[in-house]
């Protein structure tokens, strides 16, 4: 049953939503419009002249094999980060949910990494894995594994995935824990009485009931991996070695802020925007149906 709220004053609802609308217009629609507009021009760095070039910024992008490869890298990066960050945090949340003593201490420690900026998270991992100084690479060498992410692209990609996922675990953990705590104990107990084992209880009762949280986190994590990770890449591998870790959002940054090629950068961000809109649409359209609220 839904409740309908009726405002007596006709203007009040509009005034109440106005700040939100304004924020969205100023901080989302206006920049998006500017990006869209700039993507049809080429412009010098200082902004003295701009020239209309139609779709050329786009056609050049898709003629560039490096850009196309970047889609693949981004997809691998995004999926791995999301999967890693969500599965580990779910496991941690389930474990923390059972802890009876000093639960707050555990939780605090698990939430802590969220306070770390993505760039810093990257630098920490970069330092741990530095082939000359890093402790992790020292262990790997002791195990007979030759670690040099400066040369080996797969190792570099693995490293930034771990760093990006590590940073996101805390956030996911918080939501999963809250989700777990809101599941009525009686359901789990009833299943236990029916002789369902812990694994079965988790997969048939807990996990489905967590699905709204999982779905929300899926969207948030993919958006995080696609958009928020450029500073991490920038502070560590700078897209290298070769272009092994050059994800789309890093290219946007690199072309615009390093290369001062605003037209191409804008075109890339428009493509990225379209991609994320499409992805979110698909998620809501198809996955949303399988979520039990």
């Amino acid at each position: 049953m839904q409740k309908r709220v009726v405002f007596r004053n006709t203007w009040l609802p509009y005034i109440l939503v106005a700040p939100q609308i304004l924020v969205t217009l100023v901080f989302f629609f206006w920049p998006s419009w500017q990006a869209l507009e700039s993507s049809f021009y080429i412009e010098d760095a200082f902004g003295f002249s701009r020239e209309w070039v139609g779709l050329r910024n786009y056609t050049e992008l898709f003629a560039d094999p490096g850009y196309l490869k970047s889609f693949r890298t981004t997809l691998i990066f995004g999926l791995c980060v999301t999967f890693l960050a969500m599965s580990i945090s779910l496991a941690l949340a389930v474990a923390a949910n059972r802890v009876l003593r000093a639960a707050t201490v555990y939780r605090t420690f698990l939430i802590w990494p969220y306070a770390v900026a993505p760039a810093l998270a990257g630098v920490i991992w970069y330092f741990l894995m530095n082939p000359s100084l890093g402790i992790v690479s020292y262990w790997l060498r002791a195990l007979g594994y030759d670690w040099n992410h400066y040369v080996n692209g797969e190792q570099a990609l693995g490293m930034v995935i771990v760093a990006a996922a590590w940073k996101q675990i805390s956030y996911n953990f918080l939501f999963f824990l809250a989700g777990l705590q809101s599941i009525p104990k009686s359901l789990v107990e009833a299943a236990a009485i029916d002789r369902a084992g812990p694994g079965r209880r988790f997969w048939t009762i807990v996990f489905p009931l967590l699905s709204p949280t999982t779905f929300f986190l899926l969207v948030v994590n993919l958006v995080y991996a696609f958009f928020d990770t450029f500073s991490l890449i920038h502070a560590t591998t700078e897209g290298g070695p070769a272009d092994a870790t050059s994800i789309l959002v890093f290219r946007v940054y690199n072309t615009g802020f390093i290369g001062q090629d605003y037209g191409s950068s804008a075109a890339q961000s428009v493509v990225l925007m379209a991609l994320v809109v499409a992805m979110t649409f698909v998620q809501f359209r198809y996955i949303d149906r399988r979520v039990n609220y």
């Binding site: 760095a45 070769a242 072309t255 390093i258 290369g259 001062q260």
Partner: protein
């Protein structure tokens, strides 16, 4: 940097700021990219100058690394909030010059002229200023921190392996082999690979890396660094990598750690690492020498080219402030200031007088080999192939070169196809820059 020094610096800057407001001096904003100890020295320059001036106040602000500072300055210009002085690294020169043509930049020679300051361009080292002059040989920006790549070596390790300091690439290879045999894991490496192994390799052997005088003559320039000499050179390093004599340690100065902790004994990178090495290296004796020569390409070296940054003056402010800028530049060029900067950092002095002063002060006896960079830069009069490079979008081009060379080091590409690809991708950016700025 200790907490105490941060505190005292903060207190000092507050004191300076408040006294400035009281005195109502002309305020000059100076954005730079010198962090850490270098940043403290820049602050010293500013406060020393301020203390000696009744009418000027230089406010030095650290804005992040070179790229960030340049981006911030450009963004500020677009918003009408630009600083008077901004520090731009050498690869941003073409972008700044294009802006000069459109009136965003106040060229240094003109600034000095308008301020009525006697400015003798011949007092500056030719190899340093030739990078920053226009086609009429007018100086556009003031060289501030300039360095050049040198070959750093671990004397202790070379002695232990029984080899002399190499002077040619053949000797580098042999020395690396001997070091490897003596148990060194990563005998040879380098940083800033485009600068050290493409740009400077070309200049050192008097080979152009692009048409139109390496871009100095016009925006029509096209890359030619996929020539046999460079290809063979890169292939040699790749083969050394295959043999385990060379281990790539990342872009810029990332491989510094390899040299400092003794994994690498031969390391090519900027002479400006001197200041840090002096305090960080205690386990072994280190030295620097001139870049190795490829004897199959040239009989004798030409001269190396610089890297580092210069101070550009942005237009749009009032004349009294620009007079202050001119006075500050004059102050920075004084032999005492330059000698101090040079001796503490390893950057080269920008004037001949500062070099002479350092000699008189006995700096090269107390810190031997620190004149390698300056000797290397002034080895011969710069030729069109060795006075520097000037390319649009060069930051991106360097990234392309980084990417392609990394593919070589990983064994995914051979030197020829990687350099061909780098030239092709680089030329596309040059054409786009030409179109946007032509």
């Amino acid at each position: 940097m200790t907490v105490k020094s941060v505190l005292s610096a903060t207190v000092a800057s507050i004191a300076v700021a408040s006294s400035a407001i009281a005195a109502d001096k002309a305020q000059v904003e100076f954005w730079h990219a010198m962090g850490g100890e270098l940043g403290q020295m820049v602050d010293t320059f500013a406060s020393d100058f301020n203390a000696g001036s009744d009418s000027c106040q230089i406010n030095a602000t650290y804005k992040g690394n070179y790229t960030e500072n340049m981006t911030a300055s450009i963004a500020a210009f677009r918003a009408g909030q630009q600083p008077h002085i901004t520090q731009v690294f050498e690869v941003g020169t073409a972008t700044m010059m294009a802006a000069e043509g459109k009136g965003a930049v106040y060229p240094v020679y003109k600034l000095m002229e308008d301020a009525g300051i006697d400015f003798d361009q011949s007092a500056y080292l030719p190899a340093v200023i030739s990078y920053y002059t226009d086609t009429d040989n007018n100086l556009l920006s003031l060289p501030f921190n300039s360095s050049t790549p040198v070959l750093w070596y671990n004397k202790t390790a070379l002695d232990a392996a029984g080899v002399a300091v190499p002077t040619t690439w053949d000797e580098v290879e042999e020395a690396a082999r001997a070091l490897k045999a003596n148990g060194m894991t990563k005998p040879f490496s380098f940083g800033w690979q485009s600068w050290t192994n493409v740009e400077n390799f070309s200049a050192w052997h008097n080979l152009p890396m692009a048409t139109e005088e390496n871009g100095f003559a016009s925006l029509k320039t096209e890359f030619t660094f996929n020539n046999d000499a460079v290809v063979n050179h890169i292939q040699r390093i790749a083969d050394m990598g295959e043999e385990g004599l060379f281990v790539y340690g990342g872009r810029r100065g990332d491989s510094r750690a390899q040299f400092v902790n003794g994994e690498t004994a031969l390391w090519i990178n900027s002479s400006a690492y001197y200041g840090g090495f002096k305090t960080d290296i205690t386990e072994f004796e280190f030295g620097q020498t001139m870049l190795p020569l490829e004897t199959s390409v040239a009989d004798a070296p030409q001269n190396s080219i610089i890297g580092g940054a210069t101070l550009w003056v942005l237009s749009g402010h009032d004349q009294p402030e620009y007079t202050c800028v001119a006075e500050f530049f004059q102050f920075l060029s004084q032999p005492e200031q330059q000698a101090m900067w040079h001796q503490n950092t390893g950057y080269v002095p920008i004037t001949t007088a500062a070099y002479e002063l350092s000699k008189e002060q006995g700096f090269y006896e107390s810190d031997p080999l620190t004149d390698t960079a300056i000797k290397q830069l002034s080895l011969n009069a710069p030729t069109p192939a060795s006075k520097g490079v000037r390319f649009g979008s060069f930051v991106q081009v360097r990234d392309i070169i980084n990417e392609e060379l990394e593919a070589v080091w990983a064994g995914d590409k051979d030197a020829k196809s990687a350099l061909d690809a780098a030239v092709e991708r680089g030329n596309a950016l040059l054409r786009k820059f030409e179109e946007a700025n032509g």
